[in-house]
Point group: C2
Chain length 325, copies 2
């Protein structure tokens, strides 16, 4: 089958709601700064009522990556479940308007479109509270086999290990990709998510993940070690390419015997929401152009710097101009 997509993302389809909060607000509610936790309808409503005025935008980790990769010129598709409501329409518009092929049928008559209540503290860290809504309905029936077979790389969002039917959908997508000689990429998404689903993540790596994205907390959680170097050695033995982000220390791209140190791009940090998603977008968009791994990492750093320079996860500047590509 002809490759008509460079990247196909599979992830949660979410409306982000960002609001400023101080450390006391997090502490009073027992929220772990920088982490993502799942909330039910009741908790979501109580937290929303307590939090300040918000800025809304389409979100979702893999969806953010897809939007930014498309802005960089890659041919991109996305699979994810919204509901038949205004946030779902906004999500679909935002994907299609940037050129991302997105036509997963919306959920009708069920839960509303997922919402992530994101609290941004004065230190620019984001703490996320996700109500999964319609995302829990994403399953094997939503895996568009023709799109997976036609995509150079299928990019899987680790957060999708949480909704019940999505793990089976992931395994199905990996089987289809491999059967068609395509690559699979995975992001670990969140250290607590790795903790909840460590065995399933390790199993998926063995099934055939070609490119892994993880930050320090995630990769050390995956290999149950406090030592980043030990985790790097473990992932080097298990995955062909690992792009390991390290916040202000930049990133490390590990592939077999080779290791590339990627410098961070200096910027004023306003809100770290979406930094990892943007890094993956830059990396995958550069990889789709056949650029060397060091250059893939540089594109990742440039996109991450853009993401953290403003409130919100989706790009606001012209990414193509920023990478000079």
């Amino acid at each position: 089958m002809a490759q008509t997509l460079d990247i196909l993302g599979i992830g949660n389809a979410i409306l982000d709601v960002l609001a400023r909060a101080d450390d006391g607000f997090l502490a009073a509610r027992g929220l772990d700064k920088g982490a993502m936790r799942l909330v039910d309808t009741e908790e979501a409503e109580a937290l929303y009522a307590a939090m300040g005025p918000g800025l809304e935008s389409s979100g979702g980790s893999a969806a953010n990556t897809c939007a930014a990769a498309a802005a960089l010129g890659a041919r991109v598709g996305f699979l994810g479940k919204v509901a038949d409501d205004v946030p779902g329409q906004i999500f679909g518009h935002d994907m299609r308007s940037i050129g991302v092929a997105f036509d997963t049928p919306p959920l009708v008559g069920g839960a509303p479109t997922a919402r992530c209540l994101i609290l941004v503290t004065p230190d620019a860290q984001r703490t996320m509270n996700t109500y999964l809504g319609a995302c829990v309905a994403f399953g094997e029936a939503d895996v568009d086999a023709a799109k997976v077979a036609a995509a150079g790389v299928t990019y899987l969002e680790g957060y999708l290990f949480d909704p019940p039917a999505a793990q089976a959908a992931f395994r199905m997508a990996v089987r289809i990709a491999k059967a068609n000689g395509r690559k699979v990429a995975l992001t670990l998404s969140d250290a607590f998510c790795v903790g909840r689903h460590r065995a399933a993540f390790r199993e998926l790596l063995r099934q055939g993940v070609d490119i892994l994205f993880a930050n320090e907390a995630e990769i050390t959680s995956l290999y149950e070690t406090d030592d980043h170097a030990a985790a790097v050695a473990a992932v080097r033995a298990e995955v062909p390419i690992a792009a390991l982000t390290r916040s202000e220390k930049g990133s490390l791209v590990v592939a077999g015997d080779s290791t590339a140190q990627i410098a961070p791009v200096p910027t004023k940090v306003v809100d770290t929401t979406g930094a990892g998603d943007a890094y993956a977008a830059g990396f995958l968009a550069a990889a789709a152009r056949g650029l060397p791994l060091g250059e893939c990492g540089r594109w990742g750093s440039v996109c991450a710097a853009e993401a953290i320079s403003h409130v919100g996860a989706r790009p606001q500047a012209d990414l193509r101009a920023l990478v000079g590509g």
Copy 2:
């Protein structure tokens, strides 16, 4: 009646959708840069389909002013019509979460919550396309007489001359305010809106507007002159206090024989959406504290500078710290 509110705003209740666009996009659609035009459902859908990915937030001119004035510590209420939908819930949350009293009953089973499609060009100008939706249902029944009577100043948004039933509601609000010894403020909102409703605006001024807000295009349109100085002389004779904004030239506060020149506050201009609304918020919040007119203008300038330093009309920084109040 005791004064329990400093400011009561009456305006359109809108979901803003902001997206980047270039001059060619505006030109191809015959859009006047910097202006607001009304669009029907069909036009709104066509424009939304053509425009880029958006950033959503609660908007509406007087509502923006109310949100910022509350952030400055003023006691604020708002009257405006949303629908019983997700954007309407977001609008209500954003008002109440900042302490604005807002309980206008939402429209059920009618048009959806109003939406303003805002195109931000690389020169930071915003061009607005408003689908009025539920706002057309705002009328005299929504004028909460007790709130008007209890508010130091009732602040009227000129854009409300567009929806059919709102002019009667405005006249009713002015009568109630005057009967209770309260003040009335008005913003002209937009030069084209002034052109559509010039006679009604002039009539409302004669009915008893105490404080008028207008930019250069609006005040010259009101008095049908090309000469700003002539418009200043005319408004000086007609309105007790006029706060006349002049973009990068700062503003002029005219009251009887006195004139205060207010310097602009230097900032990097990212998006001019909400600059005038923020100016009015600073001015009215300072006036509510009994500060002199020059200081009211300075608060206005500080808030306008904050508004234009980021994408979106609602404040993102701590306004109280910025004004030092």
